[in-house]
């Protein structure tokens, strides 16, 4: 059995499962956020009763992160719905924006989107936060009401996105009927060259198989190349399995996984016992190809979908009006470091926005110093507009007053995950996906630029 099949066999207490089997799996963690949480709670209450209890209050993780820093009254209310539910159900893992469990969230428009507006529990973008806060554990099943939940596959677990109705069902029962996907095998060899990042790898792979090339399938990444990648790159790659239509992405467990998971658990006093699954020599794949990481070059996805692969060095004719660094895949500490290295001591030429994924990232950027200057200041001094409020921000457009939102037709290069029409705001705007290094180099020139020119 493949890694995914092993995880699903375990979760359904079966000896064996095969692609196509419909099985009931037990869920270890259910995650929801402010956009889909209120609807999920609505389904749960409608179907199980007003007095119903969630199946396990310690296994439900609620992370407001999408539409937080907006004056939109409904967006603010939605966080209040989450708070009320967490209180009523005794859900411990609720990463609230405010500290008062009986309070109401109201965005302060006078302070605006840039100055810090969150309390001590807030966790930032859900997928990055899940890992940081010790909720991603090898061997487990994690479901979330967000398509990029598959990011947690980096930690050798089965993780996938589901809708509100399915999530409402899981809330009440702890189980879900899942069809075992076929597995596509991406055997990775070689190592990334300087200036090339996890984002380049996944954009390259999506471009190779087409952006519906993995529909209904698991994408398994293994081999020496996979082992050479650090956890942040693995997270970026697993996250974007969905951009090829995949059900989940999955990596093997190794010493790097172990170190990351233990560290996160320790930091948050979370459970650190886990039981990874291992590759099985008899595993069968529906697709099997080897990719040499050392041959991958800085890659972008052109508008209007993540499968429009092109080499950055061949796209110098694409003029840009905006650059954006942020999101679950592109707003981690390592992403900002790669970005800052390139723009350090220079000035960006176009409007450039920076949104840390989590408060932890923000803290890192403030505490990591290069020649006495924080990375945060390196960004600001280069002309990047940084916000102290981590979250999804303009990655998916959001309400009109969202920080960095693309409100007019323009070309924007972004470290985000998705570039369908309208994704970052205006439906006639064009979004180009790229690694933080490529976005940084492009911000300096105002056109798509290969970051290796700046190494």
């Amino acid at each position: 059995m493949t890694l995914t099949e092993q995880l699903l066999a375990r979760a359904s207490r079966r000896e064996k499962v095969a692609p196509g089997d419909n099985i009931w799996v037990s869920v270890d963690v259910l995650m929801t956020h402010d956009v889909c949480g209120p609807g999920t709670i609505g389904v749960f209450k409608r179907e199980f009763g007003r007095e119903a209890r969630v199946w396990d209050a310690n296994r439900v993780v609620i992370i407001p992160d999408h539409y937080i820093f907006s004056a939109d009254a409904k967006c603010n209310r939605n966080v209040d719905i989450l708070r009320e539910f967490a209180r009523e159900q005794g859900i411990r893992h609720f990463y609230d924006i405010i500290d008062d469990p009986k309070g109401l969230w109201k965005f302060d428009s006078v302070k605006g989107p840039v100055k810090r507006q969150y309390g001590s529990h807030y966790a930032g973008v859900c997928h990055t936060a899940l890992a940081e806060r010790g909720h991603t554990r090898p061997g487990e099943v994690l479901l979330g009401t967000d398509s990029h939940t598959c990011m947690a596959g980096a930690f050798n677990q089965f993780a996938t996105g589901i809708g509100n109705t399915d999530a409402g069902f899981v809330m009440g029962t702890g189980r879900l009927l899942i069809k075992v996907p076929e597995t596509m095998h991406f055997h990775l060899v070689g190592e990334l060259q300087p200036g090339v990042m996890g984002k380049d790898v996944i954009l390259h792979l999506i471009g190779e198989i087409g952006f519906d090339g993995a529909t209904y399938r698991a994408m398994q990444f293994d081999g020496p190349g996979a082992r050479s990648l650090d956890m942040d790159d693995r997270m970026t790659i697993a996250n974007m399995a969905i951009e090829a239509g995949g059900k989940n992405g999955i990596f093997e467990f190794d010493a790097k996984t172990d170190a990351f998971v233990r560290e996160a658990a320790k930091r948050n006093g979370a459970k650190a016992d886990f039981d990874p699954v291992e590759a099985d020599p008899g595993q069968k794949f529906v697709f099997d190809r080897t990719f040499d990481l050392s041959k991958i070059e800085p890659t972008i996805a052109k508008h209007p979908d993540p499968g429009q692969k092109a080499l950055a060095k061949q796209c110098g004719d694409i003029g840009l009006q905006r650059a954006y660094i942020g999101s679950c895949t592109g707003g981690k500490t390592s992403d900002f470091l790669a970005f800052a290295k390139i723009i350090r001591g220079k000035r960006v030429k176009i409007d450039t926005f920076g949104v840390p994924a989590t408060p932890q990232v923000l803290e890192d950027l403030r505490s990591i110093k290069w020649d006495g200057k924080s990375v945060w200041d390196v960004m600001v001094d280069a002309g990047v507009q940084m916000t102290e409020n981590p979250g999804c921000a303009a990655c998916l457009g959001g309400p009109e007053d969202t920080f960095g939102r693309v409100n007019q037709p323009m070309n924007c290069i972004a470290t985000t995950n998705r570039n369908f029409p309208g994704r970052m705001g205006h439906k006639e705007a064009r979004v180009f996906l790229a690694s933080p290094a490529t976005v940084a180099a492009s911000a300096l020139t105002g056109r798509v630029t290969d970051p290796r020119e700046y190494l």
Partner: protein, 185 residues
Amino acid sequence: MAKTFQGRIFVVRDNIDTDQIIPAQYLNLVPTIHDEYEKLGSHAMCGLPDSAYTTRFVAAGKMKTDYPIIVAGRNFGCGSSREHAPIALGAAGVKAIIAESYARIFFRNCVATGELYPIDAQERLCDTLKTGQVGTVYLQENTLEVEGKTFSLKPLGDVMPVIESGGIFNFARQNGLINTASNAA
């Protein structure tokens, strides 16, 4: 849901993602709140670029669409897992989508909510049919009839009874998989 339905067809191309079906700024609306459910319907498909789609799916100032049948190309519903997408379409009055293929989560959300039938076409109908034509879907017979021409559709199989019963909860109840009563109004 009825097994045969007739209405105007709205034709879209490949890769219609959930941002085009229901743009992100409307995700502040909670589908289980009745008024907000209706509002979601009024915004259905408003993310389609005007440059490519000159006909509005829901006319300005209207809550419902004049097009209960959507015909699409490949990979309909790709992108996010937002259940707001099938719900917006269902709330707008869409009964069925007939596409060459679907993105996984969207398909599943159609079935889970029972909002509409996501039917696979046997051929690329988005090249043949035009927005505004009147079609009749025969679910039992797996056919679509448009202006005297009959196109065959792939059978919905296992998901048909789930959608017919109104989604997974009703289905699970009818089949003894869960035993709580619904509080649906």
